[in-house]
Symmetry: C2
Subunit: 407 residues, 2 copies
């Protein structure tokens, strides 16, 4: 597997475009389009929130029922959530407009929205945006990059990644882009992520690979514990790599799964590190667990703890809050056996041994915690299972961004 420069246009046969439709933002692009030159197998995973945005409902139907997907239309600024029948009608109108211009069927068009809940989309602007983007579609790196920029809301930077791997004699590419960065507590995921690949693979295995992988990637990040109404991961495979079609769990499938995991992990970590107001990516590894499920519950509880997140912002080695968050997670362990370490580019040090603090240097600990990426490792000494979760610190800017997001 090799990491390459690129995003959603890295895989063969995928094009993208972006435009400034003026939906909410007036000084930037806010719509993106992804298009495959041939029909794709589509897989998707969606929010578990009972309040599902209209585009989520639309895409769930397309992924389940449509034989092939070929385009994705995304807008930032308005989420099209809690918008009733009118919101559903707008998904259909969006797909219809794109279908006309791209000469594909309406049920080959996926849609995604992110932004304020409860407002209706300005359909004239959406349609004008689609009309502007369709003739601009290209397969360049720049087009994919422009799309990654256009889907941002409170994100501070675009998020994209691409890798290649070999399947048979062919090189297969997987690329993707995503956006955060608030209401991030995936379950499924809590954000928008779009992955494209030129792999030839059956729809069943494509969905299985995605459904399994999100459990270790997007579902292991949290910015604020709020599971969004719009969470969507879409994975499109168009077969343009011309590899022997993956229809069983052979070595090619394993290579595909591994590459997909790299893409999703990279995007998930980018999202966590760019959480609203965040100054640091906070990684929590639980090792020595009895089961993977136990390790996941423990690690997610820590990255979700407001008190722990505030301590990370203060570069404060407040390990008591980490043990406390593990303690209320619901997972069973013996607090008096836990070892805890802090780790970053500045070094690694043990803080707790068997549940009690060592005589460590606070100064040294603060130095380790002052890096932009910090890791806490908790060893619960019960078995061999491990899990990693990613979050961010809780800062003044999170409050600033969210105290008056709508204005």
């Amino acid at each position: 597997m090799e990491k390459i420069k690129g995003g959603v246009t890295a895989a063969k046969g995928f094009k993208a475009a972006a435009t400034a439709a003026g939906i909410k933002y007036t000084d930037r692009t806010d719509m993106a389009m992804i298009y495959s030159i041939v029909p794709c197998q589509a897989a998707g995973t969606f929010t578990t929130n009972i309040v599902k945005a209209a585009p989520v409902k639309w895409d769930q139907k397309i992924v389940k029922e449509s034989r092939a997907a070929q385009a994705v239309i995304v807008n930032a600024g308005i989420a099209n959530a809690c918008t009733g029948e009118e919101g559903m009608a707008y998904c259909s109108q969006t797909a219809k407009k794109a279908a006309e211009l791209l000469n594909v069927s309406e049920d080959a068009v996926l849609v995604a929205s992110t932004g304020v809940i409860g407002k209706q989309l300005p359909m004239d602007k959406i349609c004008a945006g689609i009309t502007a983007m369709a003739p601009q579609l290209t397969d360049t790196y720049e087009a994919g990059h422009a799309a990654a920029l256009a889907i941002m809301t409170t994100d501070t930077h675009e998020k994209e990644v691409a890798v290649t791997f070999e399947a048979g004699t062919k090189t297969v590419t997987i690329g993707g882009m995503c956006k955060g960065s608030g209401m991030i507590h995936p379950n499924m995921c809590t954000m928008l992520s779009f992955i494209t690949t030129d792999a030839a693979i059956s729809k069943e295995l494509l969905q299985e690979a995605l459904s399994e992988d999100i459990k270790d990637t997007y579902n292991m990040i949290s910015v604020d514990g709020d599971t969004s109404t719009n969470d969507t991961v879409l994975l499109l495979a168009n077969g343009e790599a011309k590899n022997p079609k993956i229809t069983e769990k052979n070595a090619d499938y394993e290579a595909f799964v591994k590459a997909l995991n790299y893409v999703n992990t990279t995007l998930a970590k980018q999202m966590a590190g760019d959480g609203e107001g965040a100054t640091a990516l906070f990684e929590v590894k639980v090792i020595g667990a009895e089961s993977k499920e136990q390790a996941k519950v423990l690690s997610k509880s820590v990255i979700t703890s407001s008190l722990t997140k505030a301590a990370i912002y203060g570069h404060d080695a407040n390990w008591g809050r980490i043990l406390c968050a593990m303690g209320y997670s619901g997972a069973v362990f013996d607090p008096e056996k836990v070892d805890l370490y802090f780790e970053s580019k500045a070094g690694k040090m043990q803080i707790i041994k068997d549940g009690v603090a060592l005589d460590y240097s606070e100064e040294e600990a603060t130095k380790i915690l002052s890096e932009p990426e910090v890791t806490a490792v908790a060893d619960v000494k019960m078995g061999d299972a491990t899990a990693t979760a990613w979050g961010c610190d809780l800062t003044y800017d999170y409050i600033k961004i969210n105290a008056d997001y709508r204005s």
Copy 2:
């Protein structure tokens, strides 16, 4: 039932004292003592966190095994949590010292601590504090008030309440004090609360009344979603009201339960409203629910949502976040049937009807949300059950307090 001025010394036969022991704070009192002139029936409820502080373990044993409790020793500044066997030994030493000075048995002394996790108590200061307080014990209002001040940590004001009710021909009093104000997500409760009553009541009914009542009071508040290692509610009944002893669920028991609920609700709301950094008490009522459990899950999910709490701080009628938080709560309902109202001293207005926003005035909504106590009422139109949860807004000061709490 009548509300009266007072706290833990309001009920007959209870005395209190406070002192500045210099455990962590140098400019204020930080230890309190409660004492009953006669042995009490004791009931208690404690944190569900697996990581339990030493005083929690100590009190659980006393409440379960001891025939009578007569004193409570509380300190602020150090939580005596994650302190291993040394921490347990300190509970025993504290009880022993108090027992000697008060002439009671060691297993009649309850202890409670709040503050930093992982540090050992300075036993010389604790013992000096007990020695200073014992001769100061009095049953005045001022003594109870001094105790309520001494147990504060990041609280901005003391919290106490007292009521009387009639049982037979006798007047029974229940009074209490508590402290918050971070790591507050009770389950059991997440704080310290001490309730004293002169009611004559059996130990079994005392515990049952408390265990039932916390589900609707302390367990319905949240400041930050973090369930503390030290949460403790203690309820002491000394029988000094000389009422006919309550040994069955008769009218006197109902009156006791009602008064206890008032005391606990008042203290719980005071804690929520004085959450770390809070500028407003945020009350969420769910009505029209299928079951009380459903209403509780929905209302707690909303008061726990960081995004909703930040919006309340911004006086922003961001109802989408409320619906979103209900949606990921795990409770099943139809989002397209929900009505939502905002209410405060400044007025009441409907924001959503059947899941879709009404054409309400943002200006008017902001006015309603600018009060120090604001309520959101969500009607899910499924039945007759209701529940109320209490939280607070999420502010810059929460971050400030918690980014470097230990220094």
